[in-house]
Subunit: 393 residues, 2 copies
């Protein structure tokens, strides 16, 4: 028989679009001894995780829990529960994940109307006026933190116009949650999903979601069954609710990891956590600016945890990313879709959002850019970043 | 803010229907440092895992990989890829998981014809003759190891009659894989799914699946898109194939766990692994027999890894299971559906299938049954089990 190498993953600093650097406590938690999915201990853990998720989403929604699959399944879970065949849905598209949401919604039988904005830009409420009047959608989907472009979409004003039109608002918060404020109740978000592997610093594998009462009433009065058995919230409610009716076997160890990750955020406090993401983003931005590297997202709407920047002319994209990985152990993300070869995506998410990582990346980048003959003032990026940090101390 | 308790799961011996006892090496593997889902190291790991899964399924199928969700999502993945709206599908139902497959298939738009057998019994090829002629199905679904009843369904003869009728055979091997021989190529199984948390001794969270060329040709020539974006094999093929096209963020640490679990099986060798499952089952059965406890599945078709037994009259089901858990740290499974309150399900799966566990369970059960006034010869179950072990040594 062939023999396979011992599992021995290289040590990486994960500064890509996710998975982010995992907190060491989370890696310890995920390896703790497994209990059954109906064990009284596990049921307590589910309750506590739900409470922590509610405080993270800033919601009282009873149906706040984690879907047993990755963030994209969170997207699918929210869409297929809300949508019945021939329902009208509007999707705001300014990057890869809005595009994906259209695909998911069409597969659920929705009549999808796309509203487009250029990649890197965000939507204003007035962009939706016509389409809301014309299509009278049941659901409007929008991405709060577009991981492909680094654009930070304001939600509150969009929520108002969507509700005024009688529609429900579905928000993609995969990259947003835990990095910037997400106010489910205050903004009136009807359904929302995220992923464990971004600002929660937990391995990929779970998708936190939340549905408000309006969404749940809509789901519970569906005429057709939810097309996905695995993602059917009407059944999942009986497992996550007090009845604990067996549905599927929950991913126990992933739940341990999420529990620990939520604890860590809880201990730090949400406001401190957001401030830290903002600070490290500003330092990185100052440093990259000193190298003449610019952000792709429109000014005033740049995400702190996902820094999408234009690759300078004449610089070899693949070589820089390869050298960062192989010589420094640093992963950053390539551009997706129309940004392929033109954009780098630097994640400063959760535990990865640290001054040490900002300085390491800038130093490594200086060295590699110099090797490629790119001209800049050596040390300038570090000076700019540390100066930005000093202003805050 | 409320404070939440430190994660500190109780130590359990998991002898229920899954999750099974996790091998300590697997718990170490799952906590190793996370790399990115497009990291060259991770891509190598995917290749090696696919090779090991192929040898476990005994197949050359290129499309052999793990779905990024639990076993039930494996069921959904195989069904929604093979089925288009209005396709005819036959499902063999003799327990909970056949029933579930009907539900999943109906949600995918299949015209489902159910063939029933009493719980605990298995299907003979002749049970399918009429329905195959009458409904001319595209797909026939059957459960190889019905976890709700402990019945072991022979597949080879069923496969022949299904193929003679021009249909494809879809097999649920969630509990079977790694515990009894599963011969995908030899038997001509067209699509199959399993789960990580049974005989692979890995935490729940991944669903190994395999599709043969005929299944893949059918999927690639669909008239409609697969209804689930997340489970769409046509896209997953581009991530698991040589192109490595980004689809969703793979659950890295769960993949580490599966890799290690597959290594362990690979090292033991499949035949030894099956023999071990058989031996421990026979010892447990001898022991339970000495206590007058009988199996629910028909004679000659009792699964070695899932021992479903009738609760003796006058014995308090919930109290026994509660005492096993709270006083001995042993989890066994309750009955499901029509077997609720009537049946216990004892899993001897993967790493959990050990003589030490058999003897521990029998001893604990003797004590608890005695406390409830149940009459039997004290020590008889241990004598019977050890005697069975000695015959083999």
């Amino acid at each position: 028989m062939t023999s396979f190498p011992t599992l021995n993953p290289p040590i990486r600093t994960l500064l890509g679009p996710g998975p982010s650097d995992i907190h060491p406590r989370v890696l310890q938690a995920i390896g703790k001894n497994t209990v059954g999915h109906l064990d009284p201990y596990y049921l307590q853990l589910m309750d506590a995780s739900q409470q922590m998720l509610r405080s993270l989403f800033r919601t009282e929604n009873r149906m706040t829990f984690s879907v047993s699959a990755t963030g994209s399944a969170g997207m699918e879970a929210t869409v297929v529960n809300l949508i019945e065949p021939d329902d009208s849905m509007v999707v705001c598209v300014n990057g890869v994940f809005g595009t994906r949401m259209c695909d998911v919604a069409e597969r659920a039988g929705a009549k999808v109307t796309k509203v487009d904005r250029p990649w890197g830009e965000v939507f204003a409420p007035e962009d939706l006026v016509d389409v809301l009047t014309k299509t009278q959608p049941k659901v409007v989907g929008i991405v709060m933190a577009e991981t492909s472009t680094g654009a930070w979409q304001p939600i509150e004003e969009i929520a108002k116009i969507v509700h005024d039109a009688g529609a429900m608002l579905l928000v993609d918060a995969v990259t947003a949650l835990g990095g910037v404020p997400v106010e489910v109740d205050k903004w009136g978000i009807d359904a929302i999903y995220s992923g464990s592997q971004k600002c929660l610093s937990c391995p990929p594998g779970l998708a936190p979601v939340s549905f408000n009462d309006r969404a749940m009433e809509t789901i519970l009065s569906r005429k057709t069954k939810v097309q996905s058995w695995y993602l059917d919230v009407t059944m999942l409610a009986n497992y996550w609710g007090s009845d604990r009716v067996y549905h599927h076997t929950a991913p126990i160890n992933m739940s341990y990891a999420l529990y620990e990750a939520l604890q860590i955020i809880h201990e730090e406090g949400l406001e401190s956590c957001f401030a830290r993401h903002r600070m490290n983003h500003e330092a990185l931005k100052a440093g990259l600016g000193a190298l003449g590297i610019e952000y792709t997202a429109q000014v005033g709407h740049q995400l702190p945890m996902l820094n999408a920047v234009r690759i300078p002319d004449g610089v070899d994209d693949a070589r820089i990313r390869g050298d960062l990985l192989n010589r420094f152990g640093i992963e950053i993300g390539a551009g997706l879709g129309v940004f392929k070869g033109k954009v780098w995506r630097v994640g400063l998410m959760g535990y990865g959002s640290r001054a040490a990582n900002v300085l390491l990346l800038l130093s490594a980048l200086e060295q590699l850019l110099a090797e490629q003959g790119y001209k800049f003032d050596h040390g300038a990026s570090i000076a700019a970043a540390t100066s930005r940090y000093s202003q805050n101390s």
